[in-house]
Structure formats: structure tokens, C-alpha cells
Subunit: 174 residues, 2 copies
DNA sequence: GCTTGACAGTCCACTGTGGACGGTACACGA
DNA sequence: TCGTGTACCGTCCACAGTGGACTGTCAAGC
């Protein structure tokens, strides 16, 4: 069992329905895509091995070979156990910091351009989160979903503050 | 060219020396490990293809088959161009949020344990950064290195603030 | 009817992770 | 001085993750 497999089982569980690979891929993108990316290729690969292991079971294949999967009893207990017992650490990979780390050998104006572009992306993502938060305020979403959104907002705010604290010669413009 | 390859070339460049795979792996861990992980296996794989592409050149193999590599002219220009032109976006993967996203089907006490453990890890990492910052205050390090450390601190502080803002039933203890 | 586009799934090449493994140098104690 | 343990250099492998190319199929709209 790995994190992606557990995520798929969790999605199947909380959706309370049978889902095909395509549906799972879309659902993963919207529900956990901000902090756990899952590509389509991997969804199908994981589904194949999950079925072999007996954690999910396919129903009758429908149009376009669509196979709806449902969670089995062992699948449900397995992913829950995995979540509380084998949760790995977070990983953060920030190419911009790579460029910054070698900043002394790069032209300052190019560096500033990179910094500015990245800052704008983060600002935009934060704006998106803020909108989402307003929508969720009315809807009655469980506090766990709110917590994940809150993480995103804390993160983006921190990154934006960091951009503002950059030394003047590479600080973002405009 | 990919980010890891560029990072290795950058390390070779800024070290101003010939470095073996092992030395590069260690250097990568200390200089960029906090925001760009590079495993030993990958260092050797990348070095092999970088040499094939003519971006680095091996010197005489020393003791224990150690091969010191040096950057070539084309290697230097290639990684610099890559950094300013093909820098990919950041990726963040946070398994804890996965557990939180399925929090409604998990026992609250287990969830709280996960949250608490993660909070402690982040607190420890922030403490490490703060120590490092004090050390760097005296040493005269280039502002780019400071900027990467600053990112780490902003990030860890934000995560810790987020932990404190969690709803009471899953907020970290002690 | 036919085309066109969206969709379900397959496949592949490459990147990234972690650990097992074999060989070699070297330091240190018997 | 002679092992011998240990740390180190590099190789290799299996699996996880990414992104795009590709096939076949359905369905809507002309």
C-alpha cells in the first residue's frame, strides 16, 4: 500500500459509490489535487494492483470499457490502517529556490523575472483559495475539508510574505 | 536537461572544483536538500547521462573507483539557460492532509496523534533553521543562500500557525 | 449518415526513491 | 605486521510518480 493507493480507496469510501478510473482521477484532482497529485496513468495502474490485492472489485464494464470499482471490506480497513500507521513525511520541491541558490552566477534581471512570475502565480492561487473559502462558508462542509483549504491559504500567504522580504536587487516587481 | 541535472551542474560550477558522485550527493544534501532532494542513485544516473551529453568530463579515476567530474563549457551555459528558461513549478505533497481529508472516517484520537507528531517535526525543523540563521549571521554568506533559508523559515512558521488554527477536536496536544 | 470531439483505458519513456549489493581503501587494535 | 571491521565509491534493481502518445468507442451536431 502506498499513499496514492490509500487516497484512491479513501475517495471510493467517502464517495459511497462505485467509481471508474476516469471518475476517480477527476475526483482526486478536485478533492486532494492541491496537496497530493495523482496522474491518470497512475490511477489505472494502482486500480489494477488494488484489484489484484482484493481491496477493490470491478463491476460490469459499461460503455467505452468503463469499469466501475467498489471498495471491499478488506480495502476499507487497509487504507484506514495505512493512514494512521504508515503516513510518510511531506515532500516539498521548489525549483525557484534552485535558481536562487545559484543566484550569484545568474543575471539579476533574469532572476527578478523568475521571482516575479512565481510571485504572481502564488498570488493567483491564494485568490482562488479565498474565493473557495467564501463558497464553503455557506455550504456546510466538514471541518476536515476546511482544514485542508486552510493549509493552502497559510502556505500561500507565507510564500507571498517571503517574496516581499527578498533583498531589493531580486525582489519582485510591479 | 532536468532540474536535478541542472542542480548538479550548478553545484559543480559554484564549488569551483572537481567533484565525485559521492561528494556531489553530500553537497546536494547540505546545500539544496531542504527544497530539492537528490538521492545517491540519481546522482550517479544523472552523471552518466551528463557525461554522455558532454556537459561534464571525468578526470582520472582515483581510489575506490572515484571519478572526479568537472564542468565543461557547454555544461555551464546549458544549466544556466535551463534555470532561467525552463524552471518548472513547485510541487508540494503532504500526506498528513490526505489523512485529514478522510478525517471524517478516522478516529479523532488517532488523527490528533498524527497531527501532534507532525507539528513536533515542523517545530524541530524550524528550531534548526533558527540556529542556522544565527550561524550565518556572522559568516558572510551570499544573500541568495540567506533567501533560501528564509523560505524555509517562512514555510515552517506558516505550518505551525496552521496547526494552532486547527479545530479543537483534532488540534495538536501538549 | 458522417465527422468531430470527448472520453475510457493502455502504454511507454523518463524522473524520483530507497535499499541491496560488491568491491576497495584505510584506520586501528590484536 | 597482519587482519579485519568499517566507511565509502559506485552499480543495480524494484517500485512510485509524471506526462504524453495512442487506440478504440460513444454521442452530439451538422
Amino acid at each position: 500500500m502506498n499513499a496514492t493507493a490509500a487516497a484512491l480507496l479513501g475517495l471510493l469510501d467517502t464517495s459511497g459509490d462505485e467509481l471508474t478510473g476516469g471518475e476517480l482521477a477527476r475526483l482526486a484532482q478536485t478533492r486532494i489535487g492541491d496537496f497530493w497529485t495523482v496522474t491518470r496513468s497512475q490511477v489505472y495502474r494502482e486500480l489494477a494492483t488494488l484489484e489484484q490485492q482484493g481491496y477493490i472489485k470491478a463491476g460490469a464494464t459499461g460503455p467505452r470499457d468503463a469499469r466501475p470499482y467498489r471498495l471491499t471490506r478488506s480495502g476499507r480497513s487497509t487504507y484506514k490502517r495505512w493512514l494512521v500507521e504508515e503516513l510518510p513525511a511531506a515532500t516539498v520541491r521548489v525549483p525557484l529556490l534552485l535558481a536562487l541558490a545559484f543566484g550569484s552566477v545568474l543575471p539579476a534581471d533574469k532572476l527578478r523575472a523568475l521571482v516575479t512570475a512565481s510571485r504572481d502565480e502564488h498570488a493567483q492561487r491564494l485568490a482562488g483559495y479565498r474565493e473557495l473559502e467564501v463558497e464553503l462558508r455557506e455550504a456546510d462542509v466538514d471541518p476536515y475539508t476546511r482544514a485542508t483549504l486552510s493549509f493552502g491559504m497559510h502556505y500561500e500567504e507565507a510564500v507571498l510574505r517571503w517574496f516581499e522580504a527578498l533583498p531589493a536587487d531580486i525582489a519582485p516587481r510591479s
